[in-house]
């Protein structure tokens, strides 16, 4: 009998660990660096290229959701963080924490999905690690990915490059990923057509760079959503940002779910949306480049970097009134009463 479930022995470094590597990870991720089966991958970097290096652990529940799964997310999340550095995603590491009892078939599905996502994003998973934890010490599977990307252009993309007057362009509608997940959460579940926006952003970034846009900063709108991304940039860049609520697209079902649960879509996670900062004169050009290359809904210039107090993001409400956008304390709790 083949093992139908992960046992502690699969993480013990012995024959079952080897089988897991040979039968599950190897076939899915095959590439020369991984095949060398050494303590790490050996990689060549072209001269003149700088590196971007990033990491994220993915702990999503449920593991499979409309529009993706933890495997796709683990790859996409990290390649997007590289893209946000203006880096061409190249290599990923994958660190699995498997809970004893995880169906082998679940792991295989997740791994296949990672492989597909890696192919789609044109990156290689070159090194990895697997640990198995006792039942009740995990939640099926957690996946850490770290990523290395190549920065081929000379400029620095990041909060430090943001300048007053910069345009803030949003690459699509917001709130899909978080709501696709929430729709499945025990105690709050609802039927919904909402599909996660999980998708790689590098093609869009590459188009901006190739199109001569002087990109100052990029940020994907993951945990904490659009609001948190803008606040973080405003704080790091020590500038103000003013945006216009009416310009931000939210689909009807995402709005419906937000209304029902009393949540604010500005704080809901996305996995295939970003904001881009560039000189205002290039905003139109950037918008049309993004419209052709970015995944998802309407690309809109939603605001400007202002001379306002450092770290302060202001929002013009649909009624035309300005207010500050504040960080939340933690995750949004459904506001029901």
């Amino acid at each position: 009998m083949a093992h139908a479930e992960i046992t502690l022995a699969h993480g013990g470094g012995g024959r079952l660990t080897q089988q897991l590597i040979e039968r599950v990870f190897g076939p899915a991720f095959r590439n020369p660096a991984l095949d060398a089966r050494h303590d790490g991958a050996v990689l060549n970097v072209p001269a003149g290229v700088r590196l971007a290096f990033t990491t994220d652990t993915h702990v999503v529940k449920p593991l499979f959701f409309p529009g993706g799964d933890i495997g796709a997310l683990a790859v996409t999340g990290t390649v997007n963080d590289l893209a946000m550095c203006g880096a061409r995603p190249r290599w990923l590491s994958a660190g699995f924490v498997l809970e004893e009892g995880l169906p082998m078939e679940t792991l295989e599905r997740v791994v296949r999905s990672m492989a597909d996502a890696a192919r789609a994003a044109n990156v290689e998973i070159v090194t990895g690690d697997t640990k198995v934890v006792e039942r009740g010490k995990g939640d099926g599977v957690y996946i850490n990915t770290a990523g290395i990307g190549w920065i081929e252009q000379p400029g620095t993309i990041g909060p430090a490059a943001v300048r007053p007057g910069d345009a803030v362009v949003l690459s699509g509608d917001i709130g899909r990923h978080g709501m696709a997940i929430l729709a499945q959460r025990e105690g709050l579940a609802f039927e919904s057509p909402i599909v996660s926006d999980c998708a790689p952003l590098w093609p869009a970034v590459e188009a901006l760079l190739a199109g001569g846009i002087e990109v100052h900063c990029l940020r994907d709108l993951t945990r904490g959503g659009l609001a948190t991304a803008l606040i973080e940039i405003a704080e790091s860049a020590r500038c103000g940002i003013a945006i216009d609520e009416a310009k931000v697209a939210v689909t009807e079902p995402v709005r419906g779910a937000c209304e029902l649960l009393g949540l604010d879509s500005f704080y809901v996670a996305n996995e295939g949306r970003c904001v881009a900062f560039m000189p205002a004169v290039q905003a139109d050009a950037a918008q049309s480049l993004l419209a052709r290359t970015a995944p998802g809904g309407p690309v809109v210039s939603i605001g400007r970097v202002s001379g306002g107090p450092a770290g302060q993001v202001t929002l013009r409400s649909v009624l035309g009134v300005e207010r500050v956008l504040d960080r939340l304390s933690g995750e949004q709790l459904p506001r029901i009463c």
Binding site: A183, F190, E191, S192, P193, I194, T251, E252, P253, R255, G256, A257, E259, L260, G262, R316, L319, G320, V321, E322, R335, I336, C337
Partner: protein
Amino acid sequence: MCLAVPGRILAISGADFFRTARVDFGGIVKEVNLACVPEARLDDYVLVHVGVALSVIDEREAAEVFSYLKQMEELAELAPPPPVDSSPPATPPS
């Protein structure tokens, strides 16, 4: 308190305390208890609070504020501008 949201009834089942509808809120669908709105029918909009429908929305009443505004607008076009009071103009801060 009392976040309540309007949604459209897609289907009704059950009876009594367990009378239940599938209600559509902008595309998402949730089960809602209809026991307090026995008059609610398919395609009606109901106001839902913590999973219980509390009212059937009256479409005619819903238009009232807008007819009021329209009326006011027409009046304004006929009447001279109102006297200036002591409060600042009601425009939002830019």
